[in-house]
């Protein structure tokens, strides 16, 4: 049975409009009072109530600024300022750049119609006014305007919230000035680089004070990035600080974090984690890894860089894993580099990735005497990361060395100090780009 056989013809007048639509503020600008009344009558019949009027082009411009309408009905022919000029002036104002403007015109000349759209009109209305056409066009434009505005509000709210979350996450990271001071007091220099691939990231690093002779440094990287990974970094941060008594024992801390995260993370989520205790008093480092990319270690100013074996299961996958502590010498002149996989896996302009071994080569090629910040800059350059490159993955790099020039004597390996101490002290502990 054809649908048209049922019921009467549905016209736009029969449609019941929602309050979102009829509550819209509409400005009617026409120099002819009769025309204003006619248009207002049609709109009022459809329960539009928030109507304002302007009797010319100039008064339309004033009214727009005070009334701030959701839709403007402009007559094309007004003696003081025609509809197209009003339209042009409004479009030039960012506040009204996309408010719906419907121009009323008696013209049927297609070329002139084209000019209306070029002049910024959202649509046109034929004159004399046709009630069904008027309502149909007004409703369509208000619906579009409402959804545009909702989307805009939503986007603004989300971006405000992400910004607040980003700041909170940033606050989890070591505070650069305090870090510089603490490192310098221990005869160390430290610099870091941390950039998420979107507003929020899944990387986290931090420094844990242990005692006068040693401190801990950790770097974590959760699977994925964005909000989900970022929330997990907050969880991990809380857990790490819950087990203060394990901060001196890398294997025990990592094993404990794994037990906790296995219960918290959903299947398919995990974190790679590297925890290093830097014992500057004994001149050694002790570390435990959970599937983290290898750390790079240079044992003294004359030594070559090499990878530390960090292979092990990431955190949060299997219960009962016992993570072991490894030990390496860390004499004066040593350098330690920790990084998340965002660095070795960054695809450069040619789509190539530097990889862990490429980083070792790049580090060995660094001129002697660089500060940790300069080392990080060199490695980023070698990987193809620039200040403006979009990052496909969150990227964290921490570089720490024991290369502060001794106060009086040359370095213990007999080489002369290559960088003037005066240049090093104030700048070399600066935190890298954030």
């Amino acid at each position: 049975m054809p649908l048209s056989a049922q019921g009467g013809e549905v016209t736009s007048e029969d449609r019941i409009l929602s309050d979102d639509i009829t509550g819209a503020k509409i400005l009617i600008a026409d120099d002819d009072p009769l025309c204003r009344q006619l248009v207002a009558g049609v709109l009022r019949q459809q329960k539009f109530t928030r109507l304002e009027f302007a009797d010319g082009g100039r008064s339309a411009l004033e009214q727009v600024r005070s009334f701030r309408p959701d839709l403007i009905l402009l007559d094309m022919q007004m003696p003081d300022l025609n509809g197209l000029d009003v339209c042009g002036q409004l479009r030039a104002d960012p506040d009204f750049a996309d408010v719906p403007i419907l121009l009323q015109t008696a013209t049927v000349d297609r070329k002139k119609m084209g000019e209306l759209f070029c002049g910024g009109a959202s649509d046109f209305l034929s004159k004399p006014v046709n009630p069904s056409e008027l309502i149909a066009r007004v409703v369509a434009h208000i619906e579009r305007w409402n959804s545009l505005r909702e989307l805009r509000f939503y986007r603004e709210r989300i971006s405000r919230e992400l910004e607040a979350a980003r700041r909170m996450q940033f606050e989890l990271l070591p505070e650069p000035a305090a870090l510089q001071e603490a490192a310098h007091a221990l005869g160390l220099r430290i610099a870091s680089y941390n950039r998420p691939s979107s507003e929020l990231g899944g990387d986290l690093w931090g420094v844990l004070p242990i005692d006068d002779g040693s401190f801990g440094i950790f770097l974590a990287d959760f699977t994925g990035h964005g909000v989900n990974a970022a929330l997990n970094t907050f969880r991990l941060h809380a857990l790490i600080h819950e087990y203060k008594e394990l901060h001196g024992d890398p294997g025990a801390l990592v094993s404990m974090l794994n037990e906790r995260l296995v219960r918290l993370l959903r299947i398919g989520q995990f974190a790679t984690f590297l925890y290093v205790v830097v014992d500057h008093q004994k001149g050694e480092i002790r570390f435990a890894s959970a599937g983290a990319p290898p750390a790079i270690l240079v044992q003294g100013t004359a030594a070559r860089a090499r990878l530390c074996d960090t292979s092990s299961l990431p955190l949060g996958i299997e219960r009962g894993v016992q993570y072991l502590t490894s030990k390496r010498r860390f004499p004066a002149g040593s350098l330690l580099l920790l990084f998340s996989d965002g660095l070795p896996e960054f695809p450069n302009a040619k789509g190539r990735r530097i990889g862990d071994k490429g980083l070792v080569t790049a580090l060995n090629a660094c001129p002697a005497g660089l500060t940790p910040k300069e080392v990080i800059d060199q490695l980023c350059a070698a990987a193809g990361i620039t200040a403006t490159s979009p990052l496909p993955d969150d990227t964290t790099i921490v570089c720490l060395d024991r290369r502060i020039a001794p106060r009086a004597t040359p370095c213990d390996d007999g080489r002369a100090v290559r960088t003037p101490a005066a240049k090093q002290v104030p700048t070399n502990l600066s935190n890298g780009a954030q």
């Binding site: 699977t223 299947i267 398919g268 995990f270 599937g291 299961l313």
Partner: protein
């Protein structure tokens, strides 16, 4: 990443780069392979050039799905960066990996 499947129950092959952006086709593939009857599922990784941590996470989801369905999941011949990733993360202890 591309997934090559034949309907004769032969091995499934993955090629290209397996990253976060592949999670929809990969999950769909996992649903399909465990819906079909059989004992073991073989995924050939010899043509897979790159895997990131999101890719590894998806392999864990497939492993979980296999366990739930009492099926065996075999990963065949990882090479290059994929093999290195498996070594660093000891993923070869979580899966049956055939060289």
């Amino acid at each position: 990443m591309q997934i090559h499947m034949d309907n004769a129950g032969g091995p499934i092959a993955m090629s290209g780069e397996f990253t976060f952006s592949d999670h929809v086709p990969f999950k769909q593939m996992v649903t399909e392979i465990f819906a079909a009857p059989g004992r073991s599922v073989v995924i050939d990784l010899s043509k897979l050039d790159f895997i990131d941590s999101a890719g590894l996470g998806m392999l864990l989801l497939a492993r979980d799905e296999a366990k739930k369905n009492h099926r065996e999941l075999i990963l065949r011949r990882p090479s290059g960066q994929v093999k290195r990733m498996f070594a660093v993360t000891k993923f070869n202890t979580l899966f049956t990996v055939e060289e």
